[in-house]
């Protein structure tokens, strides 16, 4: 910290910038003096270069024809060929349709439910029941998708909970494993995801709600506002910015999907409806070894995701009186 005192402002040249040579020299002197603290940061920087920046550089293979015998440098350039193949790849577009279908279902149902649940929990006004509800609702978040997948397979098996329930209610007459029914896969993926994450999704909302000034509610009560009205006119307006922030993040993630979930729930019967972009990249790259093509698919999708993020942010800031939430 003492180094700041050493540099007197008067020595600086008039244009305010010191010459390059002097700056480098100063940097090295400081760096040397700070070697102990620098020795803590440098390992992190090296880690980032190796595990983050080298793979980003490795994206170049999307523009090459990389095979197992090549190195990144020796593989021949093919320009945009891989991306051209994507455009006519029927299986890829099937995966896009599935990804978007599941994402939109998750957005349509799964976005609003945590908000409702958070409001319901908030309205409990403390007490043991509230603690209990919170404890139970967060738990599924900590189950791995493999565990939940195993549970789902058990519940949906012909002798499982789901079939027994429907049989006894008289909805169906013959047990049937709906995991083998491709037409229902989108719903299974969506609802199981909601079941797992709905409670966890309330945490941020509850934290924001706990900061709302209670005098608002007292004033509303005196004016004779009903509880529903209080929620509509006080609670929800106070959560507007966190809701739109979440919405932006969800929209930018529309092309993303849960690879763990897909890998555990997908089988040969429901594959046509279950294959999503992530699992397609996995299959093309890891199973079929077409590294360049799989990388091109991944890169293309992440570029579209960034565009989605920027657009969603623009749109919501227009709606939000020109205030960007990001």
């Amino acid at each position: 910290m003492d180094n700041k005192l050493v540099v007197a402002p008067a020595v600086r040249p008039l244009n305010g910038k010191k010459p390059m040579k002097q700056r480098i020299k100063e940097f090295l002197v400081d760096f040397k003096r700070q070697w102990e603290i620098q020795s803590m940061v440098i390992p992190g920087i090296i880690f980032m270069i190796i595990f983050c920046f080298i793979p980003i550089y490795g994206l170049l293979i999307a523009f090459k024809n990389y095979t197992v015998i090549d190195t990144l440098e020796s593989a021949p350039w093919v320009g945009l060929d891989n991306f051209r193949i994507i455009l006519s790849d029927k299986y890829f577009w099937d995966a896009v349709v599935n990804t978007l279908g599941i994402s939109f279902l998750k957005l349509g149902i799964g976005f609003i439910i945590p908000i409702i649940l958070a409001i319901m929990i908030y309205e409990l006004n403390g007490g043991r029941f509230k603690k209990f509800v919170q404890t139970i609702s967060y738990l599924p978040h900590f189950l791995s998708w493999i565990v939940l997948g195993g549970m789902l397979i058990t519940w949906f098996s012909t002798t499982g909970l789901f079939n027994e329930l429907l049989l006894s209610l008289g909805v169906i007459s013959k047990p049937q494993n709906i995991l083998l029914d491709a037409g229902k896969y989108w719903w299974i993926a969506t609802l199981s995801d909601i079941w797992k994450e709905v409670g966890w999704g309330t945490i941020l909302y509850l934290a924001i709600m706990s900061k709302i000034d209670p005098t608002y509610y007292e004033a509303a009560k005196i004016d004779g506002a009903s509880r529903i009205r209080q929620i509509w006119n006080i609670t929800i307006p106070n959560m507007k910015s966190i809701i739109s922030l979440n919405l932006i993040l969800t929209v930018s993630g529309l092309l993303g999907s849960n690879l763990d979930q897909t890998l555990v729930l997908m089988n040969s019967q429901n594959r046509v409806k279950a294959e999503v972009i992530n699992s397609y990249v996995y299959r093309m790259g890891m199973t079929q070894g077409d590294f360049s093509y799989a990388t091109a698919v991944g890169l293309g999708v992440s570029i579209v995701s960034v565009i989605l993020l920027v657009t969603a942010n623009k749109v919501s800031s227009k709606l939000n009186d020109n205030q960007s939430v990001l």
Binding site: I37, I146, G150, T154, I203, A207, G224, Q269, M286, G298
Partner: protein
């Protein structure tokens, strides 16, 4: 006036009652399926084959668990899961704390560059295949260290710890430095003990992540001796899925022989999470908030 208050009271009470009823239904939807799995795992294979509602063990038996533990590889998987979680958490927390401590010092040269590098890594990544090729070229395929080394660092955790360290009063550091302590000594002897709550939060989340992680194994490991429990369970699931598929419209008995093993493995795999869940719960709300107020 009196009447108006009374009406409001009734409105409010109706609201509360409906609210509690709906939350109760929600609880049932969360609890019953989980309960069903736990209870079924303690039922005999015959009872499982018959089906029916299982809310209480039908023909209580431990045969499923015995079948799971008869397979010696499950012990190996247990060992892998525990060691990768323990080693992974300790190294991750220490590494992130070290980098976070360095970055928490405003005077450190190159800080702007370091931080912007970190931010870039939060938004961009090479994705699955380039990362796989890197791991492969480093010779980490089929090595236990693939669970530990790539998981050492997370910029998000670094930022959380950095913010925590910044709130520690400067006077502590200054007085230690006057006594001749170096940066490493100050970090190890003063800052680490002071930041136990923040580090515990990160350790718990990271621990759950390590325990539940399955993609790392799926991508980089083919050697069965290195399979953690999650991968073991995945294999059992895939196996029983294939069996039940070959069995469409066939007898239910074949489907249930592996079903019992699958159920018992699910319970065993989840048990450690449930055991630490009460501790976890104490930390995760503060943890979420630590993340939400960063910078």
């Amino acid at each position: 006036m009196n009447r108006k208050v009374a009406k409001e009271d009734i409105d409010s009470r109706v609201f509360d009652t409906l609210n509690i009823i709906m939350l109760f239904i929600f609880m049932v939807i969360i609890i019953v399926p989980v309960w069903n799995v736990i209870i079924s795992s303690f039922s005999s294979g015959k009872a499982l084959a018959e089906g029916g509602f299982i809310f209480w063990p039908k023909e209580f038996s431990l045969e499923n668990y015995r079948a799971v533990f008869r397979d010696e590889t499950i012990w190996q998987s247990f060992f892998i899961s525990i060691s990768k979680t323990l080693i992974g958490v300790i190294t991750h927390v220490f590494f992130c704390a070290m980098v976070g401590y360095g970055l928490s010092k405003k005077y450190i040269r190159g800080r702007k560059l370091y931080i912007s590098m970190g931010v870039i890594t939060m938004f961009f990544s090479g994705g699955m295949i380039p990362t796989y090729l890197l791991i492969k070229s480093m010779g980490l395929l089929d090595s236990f260290w693939v669970y530990i080394i790539p998981a050492l660092y997370s910029f998000y955790d670094v930022v959380i710890l950095m913010n925590f360290f910044r709130n520690v009063p400067d006077s502590l550091e200054e007085s230690a430095k006057i006594d001749g302590a170096g940066d490493w000594r100050v970090f190890l002897k003063i800052f680490i003990p002071l930041s136990m709550p923040a580090m515990a939060t990160i350790a718990l989340f990271n621990g759950v992540g390590q325990w539940n992680d399955f993609m790392t194994t799926k991508l980089y490991i083919t050697d069965q001796a290195l399979y953690p429990l999650q991968m073991k369970l995945y294999e059992i699931i895939v196996q029983s899925q294939t069996q039940s598929m070959q069995n469409i419209g066939g007898s239910a008995i074949i489907e249930t022989t592996t079903k019992g093993v699958q159920l018992a493995t699910i319970v065993i795999t989840t048990l450690p999470i449930v055991v630490i869940y009460p501790i976890l719960q104490r930390y995760f709300i503060s943890g979420m908030m630590l993340g939400a107020v960063k910078e």
